[in-house]
């Protein structure tokens, strides 16, 4: 029998090898119990697997524990629990025809499927399904970049194309277009857009679903459909006009389960000649109103890319008097201390794309606008770089602004350069080198795009935190909004889990889940809804959108039952459950 040492190889460092192997396998105990789709017998499942093998080849039907382990949610709060959302198998078709065959087989055997593209959506669930026992349809092998047009600024891609793949293609062919990339570049254009992901450049591009133009979809009955001008045989404008004629169902496929998208078109941002940044600060808390109004004006005239708001006053939270004022929303005291310390209350970093002269003119105009509204605002020149920037410029750490103001702008995403820099966030840290973040923590509520709405949300979230018994003092008066989507603000709301955040025991993870479920409910009572969620929380978020006795969900499920009568496509995704599995709604750890 092979020994463990032999298996790992004699060259492994004697001390390190057992440690690394143990760590690699810790926490993901091998399951010897076969997971089956709900309501499907072992024999029927075997028959379906054989049919899948005949359709796409035996190498690409994966059902052993080793092969399907990577389809588990690495960051699940139910990891290794009996109700972890684990798949029963995975199939990896390479063509549209194979996807159609998989769907038809699944219909015959009532096998629930769960489609993924690159499967790297780790902030929101990774490759694991909403319904335990589903068969994952892994589209990563469909990874062709079918077209990039640098004159019309369009692209057509298959599901498995990652941002990194696409960027490499642009570089290799010297194509003068950008794709607005997600933070973590191993994700894919299609999957991120269908999750309504967002980015950092100009507004029309950083809302990734809105930047799509035309889809090809395998419907639940196996038929192939195209949206927009793709519905017109012979059209040469598929990626130019997304609406086509008549009702456009495109939106059903974002965070939805009405078909498997197998091609998707995108509008791309033309590569500008120049990139310029600048920082505006305003002294008083209430000056945020004029600041947001000014930035909204520039945003909606398409003068600036994503603006980055923050409060320099976070530097004062170590001051007990200031901290108490911030907790109590005592604006007069906050303003007095800020003035004494000569620190402005709010800042926004602006970025301008264009030529050297137009970016300068627009930056000067932005300064003029804010000084009309807030005469004692400060404006600081930032970077002024010819595009494309170099790798060294992307890594550059020079802070262009005088203390106490700092830049929080990450240059790679501002230039459409996909990287994995942000993967630092779940990892080990200097202060805590032996642990890492093992669970999903990213939840963001949609906020109206005004300072008044932000001020209200800050107070509402403080109330939510108190009700949720966060256990530690919660300072929300300095929370700054994110303007990832051009038309709205987002504010993160999963930080309430301060009491359980660092407890990665199985019980601690379940407490995190329950705490987040409670927060989502309280947020909804205060009028806030989230824009994304991992499968484990999608029913909770869908519950927030309950106007008129959940008419939106009832409407979607009426459509779902009509187009997917066997309920085989991604049951539960987006909170939409088909009749066949509707009893599973809300069954996750209530």
């Amino acid at each position: 029998m092979i020994t463990r040492r032999e298996l790992l190889g004699t060259s492994l460092a004697a001390a390190a090898a057992p440690v690394t192997a143990a760590q690699a396998t810790a926490g993901d105990a091998l399951s010897t119990t076969r997971i089956l789709p709900p309501g499907v017998s072992s024999a029927a499942f075997d028959t379906a697997l054989h049919e899948f093998e005949a359709a796409i080849g035996p190498d690409w039907v994966l059902s052993s524990e080793e092969d399907i382990h990577p389809y588990r949610d690495h960051f699940s709060m139910l990891k290794d629990q009996p109700d972890e959302l684990r798949p029963s198998a995975a199939v990896c078709p390479a063509t549209v025809e194979q996807v159609q065959a998989v769907v038809r087989i699944a219909n015959r055997h009532r096998i629930p499927l769960y489609a993924i593209s690159t499967g790297k959506n780790f902030a929101y669930g990774g490759p694991a399904p909403n319904l335990r026992g589903s068969v994952v349809v892994d589209l990563k092998r469909m990874n062709r970049i079918l077209e990039v047009d640098e004159k019309r600024h369009t692209a057509l891609v298959e599901p498995g194309v990652s941002y990194m793949d696409f960027y490499r293609h642009l570089q290799e062919h010297d194509l003068k277009v950008w794709v607005d990339t997600a933070d973590v570049g191993w994700g894919g254009l299609m999957g991120n857009a269908l999750e309504r992901g967002c980015g950092y450049t100009m507004g029309p591009y950083r809302d990734h679903f809105s930047a799509h133009c035309g889809m090809e979809i395998v419907l639940p009955n196996g038929e192939l459909m195209r949206t927009g001008m793709g519905a017109l045989p012979g059209s040469r404008a598929w990626q130019d006009y997304k609406h086509g004629f008549g009702p456009d169902p495109s939106g059903l496929f974002a965070q939805g389960n009405f078909g498997i998208v197998v091609k998707m078109g995108f509008r791309l941002m033309p590569r500008p000649e120049h990139w310029r940044t600048g920082l505006i600060t305003v002294p008083r808390r209430r000056d945020f109103i004029a600041l947001v109004d000014t930035v909204n004006y520039l945003t909606d005239l398409f003068v600036i890319g994503e603006p980055l708001y923050s409060s320099p006053l976070t530097q004062l939270l170590g001051d007990g008097t200031f901290r108490k004022a911030a907790v109590d929303f005592d604006e007069a005291t906050m303003d007095r201390i800020a003035a004494e310390r000569k620190i402005h209350s709010w800042q926004v970093e602006l970025q301008f794309y264009g030529s050297e002269r137009t970016t300068l003119a627009n930056w000067e105009w932005a300064q003029e606008l804010i000084r009309r509204a807030v005469p004692d605002a400060n404006c600081f020149d930032g970077e002024s770089l010819k595009v494309p920037v170099t790798q060294a410029q992307i890594e550059e750490n020079t802070r262009p602004y005088p203390a106490p103001y700092v830049s929080v702008m990450r240059r790679n995403v501002m230039h459409g350069v996909p990287k994995l820099y942000m993967w630092r966030s779940p990892g080990r840290t200097e202060n805590d080198p032996d642990t890492w973040n093992e669970t999903h923590i990213g939840l963001f509520s949609v906020i109206g795009r005004s300072a008044e709405a932000v001020f209200q949300a800050q107070k509402d979230f403080a109330d939510v935190a108190r009700k949720a018994r966060a256990g530690t003092e919660y300072v929300s008066s300095l929370l700054a909004p994110l303007n990832w989507h051009q038309s709205c603000f987002l504010i993160g709301n999963s930080f309430f889990g301060t009491t359980t955040r660092n407890d990665n025991s199985p019980q601690g993870k379940i407490r995190q889940l329950k705490e987040l479920q409670g927060i989502l409910k309280l947020n909804a009572q205060a009028g806030y809804g989230d824009y994304r969620a991992p499968p484990i929380l999608q029913d909770d978020v869908a519950d927030q959108y309950s106007f008129n006795n959940h008419i939106l969900r009832r409407f979607n499920e009426t459509l779902k039952d009509a187009v997917d009568p066997n309920g085989i496509l991604s049951p539960g995704r987006g909170g939409v459950w088909p009749k066949a599995h509707r009893k599973m709604r809300g069954r996750i750890r209530r």
Binding site: G9, A13, T20, E66, R410, W423, R424, P426, W436
Partner: protein
């Protein structure tokens, strides 16, 4: 049989029947795959915002604290099976990678390139 023994037994059976054991790895192909799939997190270049290391390299620096190199391409101990284990099972904040992303042959090629790059031919 313990869980670890069961898992290792399964792994050895798997390795015996795969490209890890059956074909000669290609260091050239492994280098290209390393650049595309591993280097963005585990390379030796700088990160942004003042971080001297990329996230994966920095994580291994913190994990090993000098007992092993932080950069994968300097590691002499990453046998194909050890690398397969980390890639397929995931470790720490690194999620597992699927066959559709990296085949067993891909992993063997990457391991061959790392061995060559680190001088552990």
């Amino acid at each position: 049989m313990s869980r670890a023994a069961l898992w290792m037994g399964t792994l050895s059976a798997l390795v015996a029947g795969t490209a890890l054991a059956q074909s000669l790895p290609s260091t050239g192909r492994g280098h290209v795959l390393f650049q595309q799939k591993c280097q963005p997190c585990h390379g030796t270049e700088r990160s942004d915002q003042g971080h001297a290391m990329l996230p994966g390299t920095d994580a291994l620096r913190l994990k090993y604290r000098g007992s092993l190199p932080a950069a994968l391409e300097q590691r002499k101990d990453l046998t194909p099976v050890a690398l397969w284990t980390f890639v397929r099972r995931g470790v720490g904040s690194m999620p597992p990678f699927r066959k559709s992303e990296l085949s067993d042959a891909d992993i063997a090629d990457i391991a061959a390139w790392i061995a060559a790059a680190s001088g552990n031919r």
